[in-house]
């Protein structure tokens, strides 16, 4: 074997190993015990794949390449290390958008090269474009189609994810809605497709396509990503991000096909499938369809009058609450979005530890869509140091609530709303919930009468066995800790 061919075999082998390590790494995510090792191995595979790519035969622009990598990796690494755990959703959106943008950019480079080569060949032998094409263009028809489709998807994912990032970061709080918006969006999308299709057809017929079409195709694709994401409410962003994650995966797979790179195809498809599944799970746990999220008239639907909730809110002070739990046998802590907002996870875990030292059996009960991202609560609790064997899934803990003396709800609202089981007219009717209402006593920490994500009243707060502990999550948890400590003096 000659040197370059020997090298590209090595590169192929490394890509292969990397692809296997990615799958392996994701497989190890089936348990928190093995997950970290998995991602480290996947990271090693990735590093190796990147390094060997430099040695591919005929690579140019190495200076630019190294500079771009150093800047890109450096910035992301720095931001990623520093960002607080509560900002994870927007970080995922940001990094995902970058991947989509990269896929679109790859598509652009390949299309430009194809077109330039075609034009050149046609200038040389204008009489017979077919032969000129055969000797010049390096993209077959399938590759050409996938280059366009991948670029379209990648571009949508790019700008869409950036808007999602901006919304979650609080830079763009409003939903931008205007009349006929859906039709305008549809028009943008159709125009993007039309430009792409025109250019594509020219390419398939071995005529160079007009540069203007290509530019318009990309501009419209990018615009559609923005237009599509603008009307969606900030709180729906996680579902949207998960969808864009799947789309980026697909775009990467398609551009991988264009570049004949199996590792990209496989990694992209795996992510595409994973993201699709995760999007479905999330939508299901929120009791909504993806269409409802995307073309969101959420809350506006309500087929009838919601049932009246009667009863009064009965407040409790922190000391009494602390005493109640100190002498309980079993306590379940049910965190929600409010815990994330208040960054109360550390204080809550301090409180739980004190209870455990006193011999109370404490469990954390987590709803799959508590917070604003699937698994959101788990990450925050893990950050605070809560061991994952104290954390119970909804399905596991629900039958146990009748045996629980005190359920401490902190900043959760929709995920514990019994209306989801009882009121057919409620927008959350049918959504699986944590059966907190079955516990012997319930204490709810929240700041006031604020509603949850779904914007509806919560019957739990008015139940006979519920007491309200008003205050910011972190402050209230601090008072509970203080209350417990005075008991020991």
């Amino acid at each position: 074997m000659t040197l370059p061919s020997y090298l590209s075999t090595v590169v192929d082998a490394v890509y292969f190993v990397a692809a296997v390590l990615f799958i392996w790494g994701l497989k190890r995510m089936s348990s928190p015990r093995t997950a970290r090792r998995g991602i480290i191995w996947a990271g090693l595979g990735m590093a190796a794949a990147i390094v060997v790519t430099f040695f591919l035969p005929g690579m140019h622009n190495l200076g630019w390449m190294i500079a771009a990598i150093v800047v890109g990796v450096g910035l992301s690494w720095w931001v990623g290390r520093r960002v607080p755990m509560t900002a994870m959703p927007q970080m995922v959106a940001l990094f995902n958008g970058m991947g989509g943008g990269a896929a679109a950019a790859i598509g652009a480079v390949e299309l430009i090269r194809f077109n330039a080569a075609l034009q050149l060949a046609m200038n040389l032998s204008a009489a017979r474009p077919e032969t000129a094409f055969a000797t010049s263009g390096h993209l077959g028809s399938v590759e050409l189609i996938l280059a366009f489709v991948g670029a379209l998807i990648g571009a949508i994912s790019f700008t869409g994810s950036l808007i999602a990032f901006a919304k979650l970061q609080g830079w763009m709080d409003r939903r931008f809605v205007f009349p006929l918006q859906r039709w305008v969006n549809l028009a943008i999308f159709a125009a993007a497709i039309a430009c792409g299709a025109l250019a594509l057809t020219a390419g398939l017929e071995h005529h160079a396509f007009a540069w203007g079409l290509l530019v318009a195709f990309f501009a419209l694709s990018l615009a559609f990503g923005i237009a599509m994401t603008l009307p969606i409410g900030g709180a729906d962003m996680p579902v949207v991000i998960s969808m864009y994650n799947a789309l980026t995966g697909l775009a990467v797979a398609f551009e991988g096909f264009v570049l004949q790179n199996e590792a990209m195809i496989i990694a992209g498809m795996v992510v595409g499938a994973a993201g699709t599944l995760l999007t479905q799970l999330m939508a299901k746990a929120m009791n909504r369809s993806l269409g409802n999220v995307l073309f969101g008239n959420f809350g506006a639907a309500g087929a009838g009058e919601a049932q009246e909730i009667s009863g009064a809110l009965k407040p409790i002070d922190a000391n009494d609450a602390a005493v109640m739990m100190a002498y309980a046998e079993r306590v379940a802590i049910v965190p929600g979005y409010g815990m994330a907002v208040a960054q109360a996870q550390h204080k809550i875990w301090e409180f739980a530890r004190l209870l455990i030292e006193r011999g109370v059996k404490v469990k954390f009960a987590i709803h799959p869509v508590a917070g604003r991202m699937p698994g959101h609560m788990n990450v925050l609790l893990a950050e605070a140091g809560v061991p994952y064997d104290l954390i119970e899934d909804m399905d596991d803990i629900n039958p146990e609530f009748p045996n629980i003396d005190v359920a401490l709800v902190i900043g959760a609202n929709d995920v514990v709303n019994p209306v989801a089981r009882t009121d057919k007219n409620s927008p959350i009717y049918g959504m699986p919930i944590l059966d907190v209402a079955h516990a012997k006593n319930v204490i709810v920490i929240k700041r006031g009468r604020g509603k949850g994500f779904a914007g509806i009243e919560n019957a739990l707060f008015y139940a006979d066995n519920t007491r309200m502990l008003y205050g910011d999550g972190q402050a209230a948890a601090g008072e509970l800790v203080a209350g417990l400590k005075t008991l020991d003096i």
């Binding site: 015990r33 990735m46 690579m59 140019h60 622009n61 994870m88 950019a105 788990n378 893990a382 064997d389």
Partner: protein, 102 residues
């Protein structure tokens, strides 16, 4: 050369694999899973490097640099964030020591 049907086979098998593997990830790890799969599609960096490496005109080079920059950000950010999250997941002490014994 990957031709039509081979590509289809690879597409479909990868999708099956991804779907099956991911459906075993417990809810507790769904956030790291999201950022982890985000990291995995960071392999697009390799493609961006190839695109830039073969770019010739200034326009191609400029877009290629953007591709490399963005995908480098994707891969590094995805990794750091995932690793940071997973690092935090710990079992309580007794369970942990049992794990080590294995």
């Amino acid at each position: 050369m990957i031709t039509g049907f081979l590509a289809l086979y690879i597409f479909v098998l990868a999708a099956f694999t991804g779907y099956e593997i991911i459906s075993r990830v417990p809810v507790i790890l769904h956030t790291p899973l999201m950022s982890g799969s985000n990291f995995v599609h960071g392999i697009v960096l390799v493609g961006a490097m190839v695109a830039l490496g073969h770019a010739e005109t200034p326009a191609e080079i400029a877009i290629g640099v953007i591709a490399v920059l963005l995908s480098a950000g994707n891969v590094a950010g995805g990794y750091v964030v995932t690793e940071r999250m997973l690092e935090m997941f710990k079992a309580s002490r007794p369970a942990a020591s049992k794990d080590q014994a294995r």
